[in-house]
Symmetry: C2
Subunit: 340 residues, 2 copies
DNA sequence: CTGTTAGCGCTTTCAA
DNA sequence: TTGAAAGCGCTAACAG
């Protein structure tokens, strides 16, 4: 018969004995002090302090059937965009019992599905996933999990549960409109490996220009390589080679926009006089660049904050009024597109 | 007497019954298939598949006393530097049973200590912490935990257990030497909020220049604000104001270096003719910049990979030969400091 | 190679 | 308001 010793750390039973109460009373006291009489409360508090008791979350989770864990599935760990949101999520869970568990899907639907299964095996309290293009399988898992789920960055037709983000179609249109407003007419598009949100912005650009009969496929430069500032330079170089009369470019993100700017500088092309440039995300560097770079500001921190807010609300039993939040976007006009 | 129903998902007992074996056999089979006979193995595998069984890590952790979790404490979630290493850590644990748990210390020793307690309450298999400046309290916790611990990014005198990183003093010296080699002599320093590693690089710069009697405190521009490209511009502007004869700057990181470059461009100061610029980390954009920016390359991905390697080794029982790994650094010379 | 039994640390259920 | 007993899903220990 197996006698096993614990980790050496104080357990709830140790605290209970030390305080001369039942273990369950200590348990109650940890979760809701108001359920324990004043007298016992202070005694237990003292014991906790003296024994340096820290509850074991996995034992709690096992016993209660729910873990104080919020799972977050993001497509990339080294993309500053997601990092901003992760930071918000961490910040917002700071004074809650919830722990954040991060999964890296690498933009791969199968990996997402796999991680989802693993996460669900831990009975997380809620899940946050990026985008609205989960596989059917993932959607099924998410629905059956019966916990709050937030899709972030993007809003669409049929949210699985809740969603917090923006319309990338509208953002794509806004970029084109801004350039047209500023008098640019031969507008190119630079993009590296596309994610669904980039695809939708690109598609909006295509549609818009086609409707104006000024779409020219020569001006769309794509690559399957991962996005980077260097790739931005490369794409700009190609564009200038293929379609030298292009007078402005929409970039899939700010890294590419910065690379485009550098390439223009290297080739002596003046921005915005000879070439307008607009990026997406409005990273901090866009303002610092010389000339400063126009971009679409997306509030990535807020997206994370709101996602957690919604989750906590639901976890507290408040039925949410609003299942979908449009965080919008703002076009920040700077020198790189200011012609008038 | 409490009758409770589980989460609805299949448990190990379900699988055992379905396969007509004992639960423990299923357990063994999951952890080491070679310990189970061929015959039962295939039967169990079938049951697992049919019931879609996924083991519950918290139950396993509770029963075995050790969680398949590697805790990682980093000072910032939105710093690309740490993101690169996190990615490496995630990648390296990909095909292992280990899960990565991230804690954000916000460069705060107390927060680090707090998170450490929380993490340790979960019996992690190993821990990774940043730097070598943990509080006494944290060091004690780390030592008593009796698990593999890796300090990363920096190597120093008394590693708690293992460490993987580089000497920031040597890096600081290398930066100064490079500039001197290139004929720069009035060398400034730009830095935002300092972390211990930046401090050591700055200190190395001070020492070096003092020994050459060419240290001038006017040329050291510091701020407590968080680092950013915009701050880089601001610092450069200040430096030019205070010490206009400065002919080169060492930047605490690449963001600041990029800002410094933009400020020079805005002021019509030619780089490197009138101003040399060197950054730290060698982010991808440094090569793309125009003119391209010299920087110190630190292999942040490798640091993460090696940290996990070391941990896995130890977890597999191999006693490590090497407790400290110097991942070194490489000065990547580019246009921004190339005078000869 | 396989199974039985006890128990990880906590919470639920039920009773006082 | 408090507690005793049972059990969450799994594995260690021991036995066969």
């Amino acid at each position: 018969m197996g006698k096993r010793r614990g980790s050496g750390r104080a357990t709830i039973t140790d605290v209970a004995e030390h305080a001369g109460v039942g273990a369950i009373t200590v348990s109650r006291m940890m979760r809701d002090p108001s359920k324990v009489s004043e007298k016992l409360r202070s005694r237990i508090e003292k014991s906790i302090r003296e024994l340096q008791y820290i509850p074991d979350p996995k034992a709690r989770a096992l016993a209660s059937g729910r873990a104080d864990v919020i799972g977050v599935l993001i497509p990339s760990l080294s993309n500053i965009i997601f990092a901003d949101t992760l930071r918000a999520i961490h910040d917002s869970t700071q004074n809650t019992p919830y722990q954040v568990l991060i999964g890296n899907t690498r933009y791969d639907a199968e990996e997402e599905n796999h991680l989802l299964s693993l996460f669900l095996a831990q009975n997380p309290a809620a899940l946050i996933v990026v985008g609205i293009d989960q596989s059917d399988n993932s959607i099924k898992l998410l629905q059956e999990a019966n916990i709050p789920v937030v899709q972030i960055y993007e809003i669409g037709q049929n949210p699985i549960d809740m969603s917090v983000g923006l319309s990338h179609i509208a953002a794509g249109e806004a970029m084109v409109e801004h350039l047209l407003d500023q008098g640019f007419s031969k507008i190119g598009y630079l993009a590296a490996r596309l994610d669904p949100r980039m695809e939708r912005r690109l598609e909006a650009y295509r549609k818009k220009l086609k409707s104006l009969e000024s779409f020219d496929p020569k001006r769309v430069i794509l690559t399957n390589k991962a996005s980077s500032v260097n790739i931005g330079r490369e794409l700009m170089r190609q564009l200038i080679g293929c379609a030298p009369d292009t007078d402005a470019v929409i970039c899939a993100n700010d890294d590419i926009a910065l690379g485009a700017l550098f390439e223009c500088q290297a080739q002596g092309i003046s921005v915005p006089e000879q070439m307008g440039i607009i990026g997406f995300n409005d990273l901090e560097m866009m303002q610092a660049a010389y000339p400063s770079l126009t971009s679409i500001r997306t509030d990535r921190y807020k997206i994370g904050t709101l996602a957690v807010d919604k989750i906590l609300q639901r976890l507290n039993g408040d039925e949410t009024d609003q299942k979908q939040i449009d965080t919008g976007f703002e076009l920040i006009q700077r020198d790189s597109t200011s012609r008038r």
